[in-house]
Each structure stands twice: as C-alpha cells, then as structure tokens.
Amino acid sequence: MPSSAPLLQVTGLQKSYSVPVLSDFSFELLPGEVHALVGSNGAGKSTFARILSGLTHSDGGNLQFLGKPYAPHSKREAEHAGIVMVMQELNVIGTLTVAENIFLSRLPRRAGFVRFAQLRKMAREALARVGLEKLDPKTPARQLGVGQQQLVEIAGALAQNCRLLILDEPTAALTDPEIDQLFANIRRLQTEGVGIIYISHRMDEIRRISNRVTVLRDGRRVATHSATDVTPTDLVREMVGHDLPERKGISNRLTNQVAMRVSKLSAGDRVREVSFEVHRGEILGLAGLIGSGRTETLRAIFGADRKDSGEVFLGADKQPIPIRQPSDAVRVGIGMVPEDRKLDGLLLGQSIRINTTLATLSRHVRGGGWLDSRAESRTTDSIGSRLGVRCASSEQPVSELSGGNQQKVVIARWLARNCSVLLFDEPTRGIDVAAKDTIYQLLRDLAAEGKAVVMVSSELTELMALCDRILVMSAGTIAAEFLPGQWSQEKITHAAFSNYLDRVEDGQGAATEDKRSDGVGE
C-alpha cells in the first residue's frame, strides 16, 4: 500500500531544552503508511510530534514535507500545511456541540454570526469520514464517551485537508471495541494516502496497525523495523537498552485470611450489589469495559463517592466499617491510587516530599508537633529509591516528573502509610514500559508482604500476568470470576459484554444507560 515518494523526510533533527531531547534523529513516512514511534517516556517521541505540529521549534536538522522544506512556526501553520496532531489529552469542549468542536477555529460565518445549517452539514460530512455518520452533530460533546470524543477530534483533524496525522497514545482511554473502530478508521485513511505517525506504548496494537516501527531511546533512533517481523520482546529490549527481568510465575503467596470483604455494594447506576472478598497476599483483578463500574466500585469502597447501600468488612470482622469519606477508609488501612493521577492524586506544583508524606504527616513530627522536614526527606528518599523514582531531589516539583515517576509518587504515599489493603485504578495507564515493569514488581512485592491488592486495568494481558484471580464486571455487576488456569482473553471479553447483551435482548438498551460502554459509532 505505501507508495514510493516519502511524505515526510527527517534527517539530523536536533532539539535540546536543558538536556538534549532529540539528537541526530532521522525518520521517514510514506503516503498511506502507519509508522509507529515507540520509546520510554522522555525518549523524545512527544517532542518530535510537537516539532511537526508547530508547537515547538527544532534546533537544527532538515525536515522535508511533500518534497519541500518544512518549518512551521505555529500549530495553525502546520495544520495549513496538512499536518495535524490529536493529542494524548483530549481537547474536546464538553459544553459545545460535536459540530462546534470539529470546526471551532473556523466556524462558517456570515456578518459575525455562525451559519449553523452549513456547520451541521460540514460536520456530518466530517463525521462520516470517521464512521460516525449516525451521530447527530448537535449532540453536546460531554454526552459522548471518551472513544467517540477522540473520533470527533480526529474528524476535526481530517476536516482540514490533513495529509499527515499524528496520533499520540490514541488508545489510552479506549475499550477494545472502540480500538477496533479506531483502527478501521486508520485503515480507511491509509487508502486515502494519509500518512500516520502512531505513538503508543502498546506493543500488540503497534503490530496490528502499523507498517513500520521506529524505536527511540534518549532522543536517538535506535532502529526501524517492519512491524510484521519484530517481536515485542525485541522492541522492549531496544527501548530500555537491556532485557526486562523474567516474568515471574505466581508463587505461593496466597493465604486464606480474608483481608477485606465487600457485601452487596451499590452506588448510583454504575455499581449494583457488588460482593467479593480479597485475601491477604492476593492480587485481585477487576476487568471490564470502561463504564462497567470498576472505577466506581473502588471509589465507593474507599468512600470517595457516596454509596447507596452495602458494607465493607475488614479481615474476619463481623462488624462492617462505616466508610463515609476517604479518611474513614485510610484510618483502617485502605489506600487507593486513583485513575487520574493529575486530577485526583497529585499536588502537581508541590515537591515529591510534600506529595509523599501527605497521608502520614502525623508520623513526621518532632517535639511540640512541628513537622520534621528531615524525617520527611528520609521517608521520601527511602521509598523513592525502592520505587526507582527518577528525580533531581526530593524537593523537585512532581509536575516536572514523567508520567511513570508521577505514578510512583502517588503509590509512595500509600507505602509510607503501610496500608493493608491497596486499591489500584489503572496503575499503568500512560506510562512507559520500564516504569510499568517497576510497578508490576511492586504489586508482586506488596502481595508477597501479605497485603491485599485490588487492581482495575483495561489491559487484559497485564491482569493475566499479575493476578491471582480476576473478577469481570459488566454493567455494574460482577459477571464472572476466573482463576489463573481458567481464563483467556476471549473468555474475559465475553464476560465483560455479557450483561450488556442480555439487557439489549431484554429491550432495556444498554446504549442509553451507558454511552461509554457501547463501542463506537454503530
């Protein structure tokens, strides 16, 4: 499919901030090609994407786009030339309609007033290109699930004569059917001759969708492969520069002691009579589609959201623990690492030390009740080195850290507190392979220490590699339970859809109930 004359030709690209981010980087993209970029966080992928899309300038090197020198000074200039980036964090404005979002910067107007009829017509055409022809352009964007919002952004990108599309972690928030839909769209664009730079951490997707893969490490191109003849192991080795530690089999860390028991928990529409128990030394996985109630279950247990009914018991207690707010849960030794670390986990402008000791300040005081910042630093440094937090010092603001290191800081807060039950919500979302591996090892260590771990994840491979047991949620209830010998990706996926299928047959319509779970653009 890819034809001969390159769409984009990059040679000797240089870019430094305080340290070099791109050194002598070369890259080539053919028309109709999907070229994946992989590398650890900080390897330079995003910087390259930002240079291409006009958000930042290069320090040197040669960029040829469509055979002409290319050096955009702004995003607008890049888009005019035909290069559009869909960012990792979505830019959809929830209060505006889908049509307004697509054409926000170039609304059709007459005498200063928007021509809505024409806007809707244009929006319908743009949506049809991404397979959303059935979506009403007048729908407020906030009513869409993340997957559809992403497609709306892509529709916006394509509506402006896009020749080169940059997708930065497009599947981070998508469920499997949404990913399928996205890939179908990417293939359609390929046939139209659009070149696509696909930045992702997910190896399986890269093999599925891309023609070639370029590996970046420390701002340099390590290798470019044809996607079909490279294995994930090879790619990971090239990314980190060495082999990852062996994947460990699950040892006999399981005990029969119940650490926490949840009984008939209900919260809003999303959580309905969920009951389960987790043992000391166990990693319990919660699988399911986005919107199936996994996150909401964790939040209701932790007291982050109001629960309507149901009880949480600790250990073998007969008496439930009254949890009305997170402080009640933390007091009895439950910790939660939230799904969105920037929004719910971190004090972004504050130092690593302040973030790490936030839940344990009363243990870091000296006589008279004053905080002992040296003791705080000691705690921060010791946990930080255990987790391998890469930073200049414990006084560095967490906003300056990479996603993986930020996640480690959120986890460090609960390690400092030595919680007996830990709830992890998507602990490896959007972080690089090496940091993921540290977190996997940490989860195993925590379980080996006798702690109970409950983890929600959208990556089945991750759950299957780590968990002692997997519960599958579907439409707010637990649809299935699997032990290591019994599970497969197929079985889990089937269970994840089970309640939605039933309810459609019942005529209730899961789609209206839960927009985020019904896939994309049917």
């Binding site: 930042t56 997170p326 986990g345 130092s351 936030l358 839940a359 300040l361 910042s373 006084e395």
Partner: protein, 329 residues
Amino acid sequence: MIRKSSQLGEYAAMVVIWLGLFLLFGAFSDNFLTWRTLSTLANRIPTLTVVAAGMTLVLIIGGIDLSVGSVLGLGGAVVGVTLVDWHWPFWAAVVACLSVGLAAGTINGFISVLLGVPSFIVTLGMLEIARGLAYLTTHSQTKYIGSAVEGFARPIGGLGCSVAFLLAVALIVILQFVLSRSIFGRYLIAIGTNEQAVRLAGINSRPAKIAVFALLGVLTGLGAVFYTSRLGSSDPNAGVGLELSAIAAVVIGGTSLMGGRGSVVSSFFGVLIIATLEAGLAQVGASEPVKRVVTGSVIVLAVILDAWRHHLAGAKFPLLKRLFGPKLS
C-alpha cells in the same frame, strides 16, 4: 534545602524593594529619611498587618474574604459600646471584639465550606451584614473612648513602636511558622493545590478550611482593637476598603490568588510597601487621586513581576507564559 534558600532569597528581594522605595522617597523629600517616619509607619500598620496575615492563609486555600473591612467596623463598634455604654473593663471589651470576629469568620467558613457556596459570595454578603450591624450597634455614631483604649497604640518610650506593632510582628512570625512547619499549615497548602487529591489522601479538609476563615475573623477582631486604640474612638465606618488593601498586600507579597502558594512574612513586606508608598506619596505632596493611581499601578506591576518569576513554566498564567515563557516539551 533548595526550598529554604529560595524562600530567603524571596524575602531578601522584598526587603530590597521596600528599601529602594524608602530611599526613592528620601531622595525627593528632605525629611522622609528619619527615625520618625519609620516610627509613624510602624504605628500605622498593625491593623493591616494582622488582617493581611490571616488573609494570606485564606488565599492559600484558594478562598477569599471580602468581609474583613466590615467585620473590623463591627468589632470597633463592639469595643465602643461595651466600654462607653456598658462600662465593661478593657479586657472584657477586647474579648467581646475578638469573639465577634471569630463568630463572623466561623459563619463565613461554615457556609462556604459545608454548603459549598463560593467564599467570594458568602463574604460579600457578610460585608453588608457586618457593616449594617456596626451601624445598628452604634446608632451610626462615632463614640469617643479616650485613654481607656489607647495603650496598645502608644509608642513605647525609647523604642518608638507600639505594643500593637510588636504583637503584629510576633503574629507574623508565629503564623509563618504555622504555615511552613505545622501539619495544619501543610494541609492548607495542599488544599490550595488540589483539594480533591487531599480528600483522596484520606484527609478531611473541611475542618482546616473552616478554621482558616475563623482565624482570619479573630485576627480581624484584633485588628479592630488596634484600630480603635490608635484613633481613641470607635467609628462604625472604620475599615471601609480594608479588604482590598489586605488582598493587595498579600498579592504584592507573592501569594497566589489561585491558592497553594504563599508566605505570611512576604505579606508583611507587602503591607510595608503599601504603607511606605502611601506615606511617601503624602510626603512628596501627591494628591489623593494621584496616590490612588500610583498605588493601583504598583499592585498590578507587583503581580505581573511575581507571575513572571514564578509561573513561566507553570500553567496558572497562560497568557504570561505565552508572552514570556520558554516553549515547553
């Protein structure tokens, strides 16, 4: 270590700005650079100092209190009525005044924190309520009190500054310590940075937030005692516009209106800068309108400079970042 040295640097910068201002006016006026000027200055600022100290903490949690001027008026009215009409002893009048401040602040805190009404609106209402109550308690009359209250404001022989000034400075030091070294202070900074994260770290943020408003109320009550003491009388119109001076002083000191960052000591320097500016402009013969134009400009300039220094890389002042900041990866 990094944190400490940068904080000291900040204080040093504020001292330099203040000294520069002081010398500037000295160059334009023959009798500005005197001990007397300093002494006058010291005895003029205690009220604004204690209010600005409390306001710093309120701004750090991302709140605001517009009612301090009116609460100060109400506190002064209470001092006047209890001393003159009811013949209470001085200490009892002070306790009454602080209690009124505490009550007003606590009400502000309760309503804004527990009912989730923005503090801007709640305290705007309190601004009207407290001023109305001040007029009601005094029947809109200024009450002459005299020597019974003036002890606080009288300069101590030899030292040149008053008990009020010494108390105010002591409170600055104590509150700075509370802010940077106590668990309560750490909670305030954390709440101002990301309240949701604080809640999910298992911290109940509400008591701390209510306490901050209550504390500002008490400090405003104390400010009312200082104010009454300096005037020797209680005036129901006292403190009109004080909320703006206090917020200006705090912001000149570099505390972020968005919350999460600030320093009580820097607010004190902010107070000094505003007071010096006013005294100096009066000294060089500037008219009242000119004084207001200059003071207003200085406030805006100070905030621009501060934003420039702190947030080039941050996201809190996107416009400034775009104008001056480096392009980020």
